[in-house]
Point group: C2
Chain length 394, copies 2
């Protein structure tokens, strides 16, 4: 047996663990009495056109076609439409050849890591706080996972530490903005600074260092803040996207990898990604949802509902005395454990039927991640419990 | 860059290659003038209830639920229904804990190979002729791929060679029946014989040797032939299933891994599979199609249409003088190249707009695989072309 795989299966991610715990609690106590902020399962339904398009495909489409294999990189028209939409929004000039349809962001990331990894000396670097599964994905694909410690003042990239951490074995840096778990968006200045550092390191080591940007939250940004399109700042960027969050389809596993022409060896990388997808068993992205995307490209769920939640929970918790990072995007709030111990807070909160995720697996100690992609009432009704919890620390 | 992945992406499977070629030819010549037998894309539409259930889920279901994450092993009720159906049909006593919902058979296989592989000394054995991608899946997951040569008389398992090939490093044997590409079904006698050999080898090497049975064609068997349910014959069986063929949903990527309680260390294997799925980026199987399966379990497409095709093509080609293996199941016909060279035949056939797949990548030289999951007219209209081709050999 592969012991590493057994461990991964036996020790579920803490998020999944808490999600299952809350499911059981809800069965016991009723779902209104459990305040589950554990998982990034979108609470805002998909755009109504999503259901319309799916129903129309089922009603009018040839069932052998809509449920049939597409070519491995995905249906060409789907990829063309995605490219057009991106070109319009980001002034780029992508075409279908840059895009590989995948089973969501996790698949995209595993495929890219597998494509980039030559041997176990290769390093992929993440920036804390980072999505916990990056470590699992990188290590399973055979590379070394390294973490740049968090910048605890701003939760922007810790450039000093990043620069120190890059070696001749560095294959890529994962950038996740809007960030899970902090909700922070790296602004254009940060991306420029990052770009300069990487370019210098590429020159120093004489090989490309790719930014792997994981951006399922790209469209979930508030107050008119623009998420920089990283390929416009740094040539050697590979983009991993998922419709899980923007279209509220997390269970459907649909997304893509984008390899821009500007990236060094872009044709080779693209083919290596295709090969990695093939070798990992990803035959094609789910076909019905590919055809959905063809028509739904550019749509999003009603993001303004997340903004309402963001405002409610941020104001609510800061008023109660919690120290929170102000989230500009995604649907996560990152706040400090009053005791400085995130697990202690998690356990204490569980007793009040409040489910939040300790930050340690995200690479930062002492914080909690709260996923506010929940019903408004869950937030409102949880505040008295949050009040009781913080009082216990007095 | 990972050169192996680049090679996998650059050298597409010959099936995909021919599929793409035929697509282009059809655009040039019209789809009625190209006789494409390259790919196992079901031609029989899904059962009409499939569309009804999907439409009803979209109309009446909570969109956040039907498109939301399920737990990683899959929705419990879906797995319960699958277990019940199997128990009824095969007199087993599975429950949801034995089943892990996956993104189809390719995903299932990669997950199982990854779960079983400790290091590169481990061997997984396939029996020729075998589905070409097994080699890719096994090697990408880090094990050694070995092939038992075909039994050219019957295309049953070549037991003598199999027995010789098993070593102390053998982790598992892939069994694919009904077989792609030969259409042969291994009968109960064969499975018993296989089982005896493996039990003796397990005793000799003092560790389990798993049968990994890949059975997407389980329901596609003709003339009342029963496909033996291998876990009823051999305890250490891990079953990989897909609804791609039985429900005509190949693009949707939905299937499962089944680890029976009878298998040695079954709980450990199950968890190692979960871990492998996690590490390879399979977050959950597509949710809408999980909920479809919950209600569609036990249904199949109209298999009798494949039987009509089987009879038509088998009679047609044998009458013309082709030497064919009689297929009891799946939707593939395996026939000999009149020149003994499969690639030569493939190229010759292409000139007549007949697309068939050379057998060499399936581990047998000199045959062609013809996927007869096509419109009846394609078969009828292709026969004059087949007649011309065989005449060229006279």
């Amino acid at each position: 047996m592969n012991n590493k795989m057994y461990d991964l299966g036996n020790n579920r991610s803490i998020i999944r663990e808490l999600f299952e715990f809350s499911k059981l609690q809800k069965e016991k106590l009723g779902s209104d009495n459990v305040f589950d902020f554990s998982i990034g399962n979108p609470s805002v339904p998909p755009h109504k056109k999503v259901t319309e398009i799916l129903t129309s495909l089922l009603t009018n489409g040839d069932p052998c076609y809509i449920h049939g294999y597409t070519s491995a990189p995905g249906d060409i028209e789907v990829r063309e439409n995605i490219a057009k939409d991106l070109n319009q929004r980001f002034k780029t000039s992508y075409n279908y050849n840059n895009i590989y349809m995948t089973c969501g962001a996790a698949a995209s990331l595993c495929i890219v890591f597998k494509a980039l990894t030559e041997d176990s000396s290769n390093e992929i670097i993440a920036i804390a706080p980072y999505f916990t599964e990056y470590k699992v994905f990188v290590e399973t694909q055979g590379a070394k996972f390294k973490v740049v410690p968090a910048n605890l003042d701003t939760f922007d990239i810790n450039f000093v530490e990043l620069e120190k951490m890059i070696t001749c074995n560095t294959k890529g840096i994962i950038i996740n903005s809007p960030n899970n778990p902090s909700g922070v968006i790296y602004n254009a200045e940060s991306i420029k600074k990052l770009s300069m550092i990487l370019k210098a390191k590429e020159a120093e080591y004489n090989h490309p260092i790719y930014i792997i940007c994981d951006e399922p939250y790209r469209e979930i940004a508030y107050d008119g803040i623009i998420v920089p399109h990283i390929p416009n700042y740094y040539n050697n960027t590979i983009l991993c996207y998922s419709y899980s969050k923007s279209l509220s389809l997390p269970g459907e596993r649909i997304g893509y990898v984008l390899v821009p022409n500007s990236a060094t060896d872009h044709e080779i990388i693209y083919k290596a990604c295709l090969g990695a997808g093939r070798g990992l068993g990803y035959v094609c992205a789910p076909s019905l949802f590919q055809y959905l995307i063809k028509e739904a490209v550019g749509l999003t769920s009603n993001i303004s509902l997340y903004k309402e939640n963001r405002d409610l929970i941020y104001t609510g918790l800061t008023t109660l005395g919690y120290e929170c990072i102000y989230p500009d995007g995604a649907f996560y709030l990152f706040f400090k454990s009053p005791s400085g111990d995130s697990y202690e807070f998690m356990e204490r909160a569980k007793k009040h039927n409040v489910i939040v995720v300790p930050s340690d697996p995200f690479g930062v100690k002492g914080y909690l991640r709260l996923a506010y992609c929940v019903k408004k009432d869950t937030i409102i009704n949880s505040l008295p419990a949050f009040a009781k919890i913080i009082k216990e620390y007095e």
